[in-house]
Symmetry: C2
Subunit: 544 residues, 2 copies
């Protein structure tokens, strides 16, 4: 027997409708790519999103078609998302930080029909346009006054393009499982993999993200998503912020410390979110200028592990609550947030920081477990680490076109590829990537823990740990070190420093000194390259 | 094209699974019906809910079957809801405050197969059991030691009954639109009407209810739902509280001021919710004892309009934020909450109270509009009032067995039967019931506004206003007055008092003095009876 409740599909345009109706005059403030600050509001965003929708249909864009965006966080990009999804088409955010050949590959794989791009990216697109045969039209997110002369096919200024629509248009109706958005993961191996969000997954995820123990978003907040919309579905802020009617401040293309500070201060931003690199720049700027953060209440830090010193500075010096978060493109992206449960709420100082170094606990809607390689559940003791697996309505079940390998297990669990601990209070902490963890005699050694330990040595600039084949233990750790300029150190120096700071069986079997460690485009250590380089390495005490 | 996200239906048992997994040791504290305080936690609640589920299946209860509960807010009642819904059966909360013949009608209409009842209600059930042929078994929510001798069919103590299960059981899987709960509205006319909630509607509604601008529930809260679970789906607290992992304090059968205060103080309750009557008793008790409310942060007041003086006392004397709320059984029940948007956040004193007298704004997931009788939208100016209509995934689309009249309009709007204003900031305020509002020359007059005005007269004990037929204006207001004991007053006294305090065309055409005004079982004025009584009334100046 079914319930007798209304059939009200979870569609994204309902979010902007709600914002326009109940929070219509709330501001959306952008540092435009052209330069000046532009202020608009949710009512206008909705009205112009309807123009986008109507105009896309007139260009023949149909449900399911992909519309690429290569754009910073601006009000036009926000309108574009709602306009695209409002006709059942799919926004495909392209990360401009990828190598041009990766962008070409992704756009061709997605078979995008339209490209909406910021002024910033016109030169890049002109270089690769002849390799993008599926793109029928380039819409440059600017007005006629700023429109450059360009060779791009059917190029038009966004403002001119939407001016051709009259807004006499209603959102299209469709199933809530209809595809809404697409984002490719930048895998370290193989081709990028396309994650395809639905209206339902985005709406449910926005609920999860806005809850008090998640981002705690409300209409009186002034919310600045520094994390770009092209980074892991923009951390849901394009949905969760209008859902609650909070003021939105969008930083456009300028994400240096001084520019971010100016927005934080001028618009009294109460909530913001970005990767650690951005906050490092901000904190350096504040130290230089003596600036304060009197309005900022909460900062969400994710994308990579948040350094302890960063959390400490935000909280102790600036009085800003830090929420360490973790997620993945495949999870829409929110997985967990390190907000304080009552068991930890009373902690202060180092004990509180210890908890804040964890990636936190999931909201309702994300299931989580850790298992060994055989898929057996592991204990939640804060020490045992295993493969982190997740399940939920905003977690991917497969990749676009069925490509990208088998990470989806029976029972619907998605193997995150991360290795983590769970503590007795249900807080998760990432220990390593599954492909990097060293399996020594059936036990696992975290390369990240060893690297963090080694970089604590005053002469070390960078450290990487990889597993090297061992006849008895299968694998044993090899420590690869780049010394600071002009410094010298020996293997014994390093090992003596680490001795007693980790389990004795975790101690690296050998240390090698190199000039440089290879990195990916996004600055991560390329362990796959390192492992290739040391593939034949013979550890001390191992007969050839 | 569909998205590629996991199929993860919104099922209620996922809420208690989440609470048990990530908030397992968080307490659930009950003042038991037997007397003592009983403490348990979410982990145990889930484990015992599984016993309920297993045991119900063994008794032959199948998906879609209705299981009645006639019970106070206790941990056993909570377990029962999750156990019942975990096999796809339907909890049917019966309001013990109804007249026995109404309970008989409702249980028979629902065709309940099992009755779970508190000790308190055994005598009542024994009196009506022979009129409840569909009930196969009575489960008394107590243990063997407290089990009374009873004639009830197959009666068993809940603790003995679940002890027969071993808990080796998994929740059943089914579509998220499966019926989960049922609650009858106590209509003032005709038979009660059955509202049938689904798993999906309850889960989505719990998200809406927990948001920061709604109830703002988090794991560090200590939440006491004084509103009974049998009142309008228990205001979602049985779902939204475990969803966020907040501590739960359940008051059982004792809802007098002193008992409520004892729980608030002993367990440091931070959030609570109930109808104004409960808070009137609490405030009277506090005035008598000099008690304070140092832990209480927020109180949600709904069910009927919250008096201005009550809001003022809570905020000014006790430092407790009052959130005026409105909903309906047909809305799961949340419709709107009067939390402060930035436009109103800076108000203080009387200006703030003016806003707090409004019923507030809806969360995402509730659409709202006001229309005239022809269905045309009316302006949101805070003055114009019209029929309040709502839409959303947790709003009913029809009543059980298709009975209960036509309130569902084209476009899916549910006519609430209320008349309301909407202000420019999107705050709704109830003005009257649609069937009570007086239509005079095409314009509407609020009977509630006139009644509130009349009871301000020092000699008036109670006032009711009804529309009486008028040859020129269709209807004109008649003021019906019960004077305080020993007082005397004339029609002119009353009219002189009201003159200048309302629009001149709102002024009652006549005043009659009566000894008593008829009331419903729940204490509301029975206007239908009054209208019958004055059906032939001839207003002054109207020729016969």
């Amino acid at each position: 027997m079914f319930g007798l409740m209304q059939d009200w599909p979870l569609l994204l345009h309902r979010i902007i409708d709600h914002a326009a109706t109940f929070h219509g005059p709330r501001k959306v403030i952008t540092r435009s790519v052209e330069g000046p600050i532009v202020e608009t509001d949710y009512r206008a965003i909705r009205a112009r999103a309807l123009l986008v929708a109507q105009r896309l249909e007139r260009d023949g864009i149909a449900p399911g078609d992909r519309v690429a965006t290569l754009a910073w966080n601006t009000w036009r990009h926000l309108e574009a998302w709602y306009g695209i999804t409002g006709i059942g088409a799919v926004y495909h955010t392209v990360n401009p930080r990828l190598f041009p050949e990766q962008i070409v590959w992704i756009v061709n794989h997605a078979e995008d029909r339209v490209m909406m791009a910021d002024l910033t990216f016109v030169p890049l697109l002109e270089k690769i346009a002849d390799k993008l045969p599926t793109i029928e039209r380039y819409i440059i997110l600017t007005d006629a006054a700023h429109m450059p002369a360009t060779s791009l096919k059917n190029a038009v200024a966004y403002e001119d393009w939407i001016a051709e629509a009259d807004g006499d248009f209603t959102w299209r109706s469709f199933d809530e499982n209809t595809a809404a958005g697409m984002c490719y993961t930048s895998g370290t191996t193989g081709h990028p993999k396309g994650v395809l969000y639905s209206h339902r997954s985005n709406v449910l995820h926005a609920f999860m993200a806005a809850l008090p123990d998640s981002k705690n978003l409300k209409s009186s907040d002034v919310c600045m998503p520094v994390v770009p919309m092209f980074h892991a579905n923009g951390w849901s802020l394009a949905f969760s912020t209008p859902m609650v009617g909070a003021t939105l401040v969008l930083p456009g293309a300028k994400m240096d410390g001084a520019s971010i500070y100016e927005l934080l201060d001028t618009y009294k931003v109460s909530f913001t979110a970005a990767v650690p690199t951005v906050w490092l720049m901000l904190l350096q700027d504040l130290e230089k200028t003596g600036g304060k953060l009197p309005y900022l209440r909460r900062v969400v830090i994710g994308g990579s592990a948040c350094p302890r010193a960063m959390t400490q500075k935000f909280e102790d010096i600036y009085g800003v609550e830090v929420v360490h978060a973790w997620g993945m493109t495949e999870m829409s992206p929110l997985g967990s947030l390190c907000t304080m449960k009552p068991e930890y709420a009373g902690l202060t100082g180092e004990a509180r920081l210890d908890v804040q170094m964890k990636q936190g606990h999931p909201p309702f809607g994300v299931e989580m477990k850790i298992t060994d390689d055989a898929g057996r559940d592991l204990p939640w003791d804060g020490k045992t680490f295993g493969r982190l697996k997740v399940r939920g309505p905003a977690v991917a079940r497969s990749y676009y076109k069925g490509e990208g390998g088998e990470v989806f297990e029976p029972g619907g669990w998605f193997d995150t590829g991360d290795v983590a601990t769970m503590d007795p209070c249900g807080y998760m902490q990432i220990t390593d990537r599954a492909k990097d963890v060293i399996k020594s005699g059936g036990e696992w050694i975290s390369t990240i823990d060893l690297e963090n330990l080694a970089v604590g040595h005053p002469k070390v600039a960078e450290a990487a740990v990889i597993g090297v084949a061992h006849p008895k233990w299968d694998e044993r750790p090899l420590l690869v070190i780049v010394l600071k300029k002009g410094e010298t150190a020996t293997k014994d120096d390093l090992l003596a420093f680490m001795q007693g700071r980790c389990a004795s069986w975790w101690m690296p079997d050998d240390v090698v000194f190199v000039d440089e460690i290879p990195h990916t485009a996004t600055g991560k250590i390329q362990k796959i390259e390192l492992r290739k380089r040391f593939a034949g390495y013979v550890l001390p005490g191992v007969g050839v």
